[in-house]
Amino acid sequence: MMTASFSDKVLQLLASVAETDEVFTNLDLPLYDRQVLDSMRTVELMVTIEKELGIKVSPAEFERESWRTPRDIIADLQRRLHA
């Protein structure tokens, strides 16, 4: 089960990097299709997540499909947290 505070924190970080609040209201927003995220933003988000949440995501092992939507990002980070 993901805790509300954890997903809120992830969404806050995503919103600050992506510069849009839309991610709070639409968890199924297709981030790359709607150009909310691009390559530069993705690595920026990785750096922010490591700094704020202590979860390390390696760009060399990253595929966009795993971060397709805000919901996907939360689930992926949740998995990494408990891995």
Binding site: T20, S39, V43, S58, E61, E63
Partner: protein, 485 residues
């Protein structure tokens, strides 16, 4: 030997050496030289005395190199256009350049190697070699003309300074061919019989594949924007073990942060890091400096370097008087690397180019100062910005936004983080407001603007206002808008 004869020389002595690798395709020097000959002969026959430019429209395909060399071997300049540009922008560039022909990779592929050779000396030194389009402040892209003499001067300097191994280098090509940073890797590579290793946009979008490709590239000379290297550095494995052959990192196109240089020196103890500076109008780069430990410890921000030999760089005040060291002013470049001007725009040319003694000179619009005989870049006089190395006139985006039916007025402002532009924000006064949310509306505007401008010029953030705050003299108050971000 002129530059083209030099390149052809590799086709003769090492026809099987690899000139270009892109995705899973490669091109040998033999193919490059003989197929560009075939293209040149075709162009000469078809267009005769009409030496109008040839537009080369594509991405990183090996045919792009054939199209470039085929054009210049026939005595015609080429206009490189990347397919990431939207159709409207491409059409505008083709129209402004009055290109005699638009060559796509598919069309260029039809020219196979022939026995007949095209002369490599058809182009005279003062003839235009390429025409590169950059953002113009009124919404019309402008074409910077670079002559064979300009390019040869630049390449001769690079070769003398970097001492590239003949037939021993693999150059990373990260910048699209429509961005003049690519001229650095492309022609340094072709002149020395090296291999150009291109990174396509699909790879940049897929980090996993990108690192795998970099790891198998055997790159010896890394040429990219600092932003790209910074992005790569986020991966901890990006270092000597992944790229064991890298001997130098060459940067141009935007500010190199001391942290980026320091991290590279740490991860690649065997490699040199070079910073350089120069506008497209003075052929890629005009100043350079090796960033070692001493410079890193001494300066922050980093210097952009010393002028290339034979070219004078100075700083002047608003009255056009040269300023002494440590004084800040506009950077002026005078020398054989300075462009003849903007294609078909004597008005724009006269505004920024002038004669300085026996040399052609260009007022860059960049602010800077000399300190310890090193040039330091300190921003822009006008509203031109650099975003991920791309040169953008904010007025260009504003003019294109205003052309949309939903928009009455628009002001575009860079979002600055750690001293560098990170993204663009558009403040928009709508002509009519419907039911859509701000997000939906932003998406619609970004999509419509995306039909007119390349992706890197699209604002990330849209702010909708009823009216702009005004300055005392009735202009939109950019400073106040920037503060509100």
């Amino acid at each position: 030997m002129n530059l083209l004869e030099r390149i052809d020389h590799w086709g003769t002595v090492s026809p099987d050496a690899i000139a270009h690798v892109s995705d899973d395709r490669s091109l040998t020097y033999g193919e490059l030289c003989r197929r560009s000959d075939a293209l040149a002969l075709y162009l000469a026959e078809r267009f005769g005395d009409d030496r109008g430019p040839i537009a080369a429209l594509g991405h990183r395909e090996p045919e792009m190199l054939i199209a470039f060399l085929g054009s210049v071997k026939s005595g015609r300049p080429y206009v490189p256009i990347d397919t990431v540009f939207p159709r409207q922008r491409i059409d505008k560039i083709v129209a402004i350049s009055r290109a005699a022909m638009v060559l796509t990779p598919q069309e260029t592929a039809q020219f196979s190697a022939t026995e007949a050779r095209a002369p490599a000396n058809c182009l005279q030194r003062d003839d235009p070699f390429y025409i590169l389009f950059t953002s113009g402040s009124t919404g019309e892209p402008k074409g910077v003309v670079i002559s064979l003499a300009c390019l040869e001067h630049f390449i001769a300097w690079m070769l003398a300074e970097q001492k590239f191994l003949e037939q021993g280098e693999i150059f990373l090509n990260q910048a699209p061919f429509s961005f003049d940073l690519s001229v650095m890797d492309l022609y340094c590579s072709l002149a020395t019989g090296g291999t150009l290793f291109s990174i396509s946009r699909d790879l940049v979008a897929n980090p996993k594949a990108l690192y795998r490709t970099l790891g198998s590239s055997n790159v010896t000379t890394w040429v990219s924007t600092p932003s790209f290297a910074q992005m790569c550095l986020v991966e901890e494995k990006f270092g000597e073990a992944m790229l064991p052959h890298v001997r130098r990192f060459l940067f141009c196109g935007e500010t190199l942060a001391p942290q980026t240089a320091a991290l590279l020196l740490e991860r690649f103890p065997g490699a040199e890091v070079w910073n350089s500076y120069g506008p497209t109008e003075a052929t890629v780069a005009t100043t350079s400096v090796r960033i070692g430990r001493t410079i890193l410890e001494k300066y922050s921000p980093l210097p952009v370097g010393r002028p290339m030999p034979g070219t004078e760089v100075f700083v002047m005040n608003e009255r056009g008087e040269a300023l002494p060291a440590n004084k800040r002013g506009e950077i002026v470049i005078a020398g054989p690397n300075v462009s003849p001007g903007y294609l078909g725009r004597p008005d724009l040319t006269a505004a920024v180019f002038f004669q300085h003694g026996s040399q052609r000179a260009y007022r860059t619009g960049d602010l800077g100062r000399f300190h310890d005989k090193l040039l330091f870049f300190e921003g822009r006089i006008d509203e031109q910005i650099k975003l991920y190395g791309y040169r953008i006139e904010l007025g260009d985006i504003e003019a294109n936004l205003r052309a949309l039916s939903l928009v009455r007025d628009a002001v575009v402002i860079p979002v600055i983080k750690n001293g560098a532009a990170q993204s663009l924000a558009a403040f928009v006064v709508l002509s009519k407001r419907g039911e859509e949310s701000d997000f939906e509306l932003s998406h619609t505007l970004r999509k419509q603007l995306g039909e007119r401008l390349p992706n890197y010029m699209l604002p990330r953030k849209f702010v909708f206002l009823d009216a702009f705050p005004m300055t005392a003299n009735g202009k939109a108050d950019r400073a106040r808008l920037a503060q509100s971000l």
